[in-house]
């Protein structure tokens, strides 16, 4: 099956050119939600979400504050389990398996689905230890090649290769965020979730992260929450629009969502009438 997909991709990349190369790839869902409800106590944060997130594409989730975008992201890798009042109904599948089944260990799930947070959160350890952390907690020994591969993957290698043993906290904010991306990709997950990864960064650092996401998606599936609509339009293949009340009101190719949204509220939101 995977061979077949690879073939299709090769064929379609040939006919496509440049930046839109991915756009015409067939969508092979890797994550899917069906009738997903999330409650915090009595408050409903997500209301009947049904969505299929395609493999090796960038899916952006946009929407006004408090619409549940981050909640949705956290329910994918079960980070919501940390919140005791959080309750989940419905189904969320990763490659066909409901991640909320009793026999799914959230720790194992998070080894397949990495996450990058809004605020850069490197560990107070050396750059090298930050990168090798994921492999080490999985009981694998990390080589210098692993460190270099992850840091190159996060477009940070050239800036830090001479100071791998200095603290990750000595880096600038943008470098710290790329270190967190390196930390997330070092154990080679399949999906990377990003929760407003550039909102705490200056525009130059943010644009580096955006370029990086464009490269990451060759190997990983990227789901990115952003409050920045221009960013979603620039970097994503698919866009999901959540609106207040935790509803998913539109999910389609990014171009369609931004140029010809089906839902009037989405048009209002995108054109800045509210939000």
């Amino acid at each position: 099956m995977s061979t077949q997909n690879t073939d299709e991709r090769l064929i379609s990349t040939e006919v496509q050119t440049g930046e839109n190369a991915r756009a015409n790839l067939p969508d092979e869902p890797v994550l899917a939600a069906r009738g997903l409800d999330v409650y915090y106590g009595d408050d409903r944060a997500l209301d009947d979400i049904t969505i299929e997130i395609p493999k090796n594409k960038v899916t952006a989730i946009i929407g006004p504050s408090g619409c549940g975008k981050s909640t949705f992201l956290r329910s994918i890798n079960r980070m919501n389990d940390q919140i005791s009042v959080c309750r989940i109904d419905g189904e969320l599948t990763f490659r066909g398996k409901n991640v909320y089944d009793d026999d799914v260990d959230p720790v194992a799930l998070r080894r397949k689905i990495g996450q990058v947070f809004q605020k850069p959160n490197p560990f107070p350890k050396s750059i090298r230890e930050n990168v090798t952390y994921g492999l080490e907690v999985q009981g694998k020994s990390a080589t210098d090649e692993d460190v270099e591969r992850a840091l190159r993957g996060a477009a940070l290698w050239d800036e830090v290769k001479d100071q791998l043993d200095s603290s990750g906290l000595e880096l600038s904010g943008g470098q710290q965020q790329r270190l967190c991306i390196a930390r997330a990709i070092a154990p080679d997950p399949e999906v990377i979730l990003m929760d407003e990864p550039t909102s705490a960064l200056d525009p130059v650092a943010a644009s580096k992260i955006e370029d990086l996401i464009d490269e990451l998606v060759d190997e990983y599936t990227v789901v990115i929450v952003t409050h920045n609509m221009q960013q979603a339009a620039r970097i994503s293949d698919k866009t999901a629009v959540f609106l207040t009340g935790g509803e998913l009101v539109e999910f389609d190719d990014t171009a369609t969502v931004f140029e010809n949204p089906a839902d009037g509220r989405v048009e209002d939101y995108i054109t800045g009438k509210f939000g």
């Binding site: 998070r110 990495g114 959160n121 952390y133 999985q138 154990p187």
Partner: protein
């Protein structure tokens, strides 16, 4: 004042307000200096006695530090008490550190926010305020007489460990709480279990704070007198053979000397106080050094 200023601000009279400001500043500055002045007076008094002891009573500092106690004032030394105190602190640290840090990890990282947790935390806060002599009574009843251990180093250390444990727990909880949640989430999201997160990320980040709190607690333990008096740490002033031997610690030895009628013994007590204070200040210094060294890194 120029006429223009008068014209602009002539109707504003702030003289009295500024005076109040200065008066209040003076008052609170005096209040904050009170403790410092008292400490200075105390130190001056002790150092005078210390000096008089060294000169008029010919107390030789080297002899003082290398001799054990004696009924004969010119032969009495502090060595037994110093070594007993060091032993006490080591055994106390051993007994209180693991239980204290373990409790703190449970309360901060694992405990659900429910009634039981709140009950435990309220009790810890109360325990930290219990007078030290009560811990002495407890150790006396339960360990010295209860299971018949007698007036040995271990029983004194148990009393001191109980005394400092709440302090260590509270300090460790604060150190753990200071580790940002973002770092924990980063670890979970990388596929670490809870224990891996605590062991590899949270504890290393919190350990300077935990050590600082522990050292400050032990510095308090080394100066505690009342619980040791309760469990009978007195009268035997020689180097103890081990944690199961009888002993007299630094503060109890000072207490014993200070109660003697002879001026020589009283000045021995002053020299002992200087030694005890020096050790305590060194411990506090180490704690401050640790805190400053690591505080910028997290």
């Amino acid at each position: 004042m120029s006429t223009q200023t008068d014209e602009l601000f002539g109707d504003v009279d702030l003289g009295w307000e500024h005076l109040k400001n200065r008066l209040f500043l003076g008052l609170i500055f005096a209040a904050s200096m009170f403790g410092v002045v008292m400490l200075a007076l105390l130190l001056l008094d002790i150092l005078t006695d210390f000096y008089v002891g060294l000169t008029e009573f010919n107390i030789n500092l080297v002899d003082f530090l290398t001799r054990s106690g004696s009924r004969r004032e010119e032969l009495a030394g502090f060595q037994g008490a110093i070594i007993a105190s060091v032993m006490l602190v080591i055994v106390t640290a051993f007994l209180s550190f693991f239980i204290g840090v373990g409790s703190a990890i449970y309360l901060e990282e694992y405990a659900p926010k429910n009634r039981l947790t709140r009950l435990i935390e309220a009790n810890l806060a109360n325990l930290a305020g219990v007078p030290s002599i009560v811990y002495g009574l407890l150790a006396l009843a339960a360990f010295r007489n209860g299971i018949g251990l007698g007036p040995i180093v271990l029983v004194g250390a148990i009393a001191l460990a109980l005394l400092v444990m709440p302090i260590i727990i509270v300090a460790s909880q604060e150190a753990l709480r200071a580790v940002p949640d973002g770092v924990r989430n980063g670890s979970y999201a990388t596929g670490a279990t809870k224990w891996q997160t605590i062991r590899r990320v949270v504890l290393p980040a919190a350990i300077p704070g935990i050590l600082t709190g522990t050292i400050l607690a032990l510095a308090r333990a080394i100066g505690e007198t009342a619980p040791l008096l309760m469990v009978g740490a007195l009268f035997v002033n020689r180097v103890p053979y081990g944690p199961f031997d009888r002993y007299s610690a630094m503060p109890t030895q000072i207490y014993a000397w200070a109660a003697e009628p002879s001026q020589h013994f009283i000045h021995l007590a002053a020299v002992g106080i200087v030694v005890l204070l020096t050790i305590m200040l060194c411990m506090n210094g180490v704690a401050i050094y640790l805190r400053n060294k690591y505080e910028t890194e997290v």
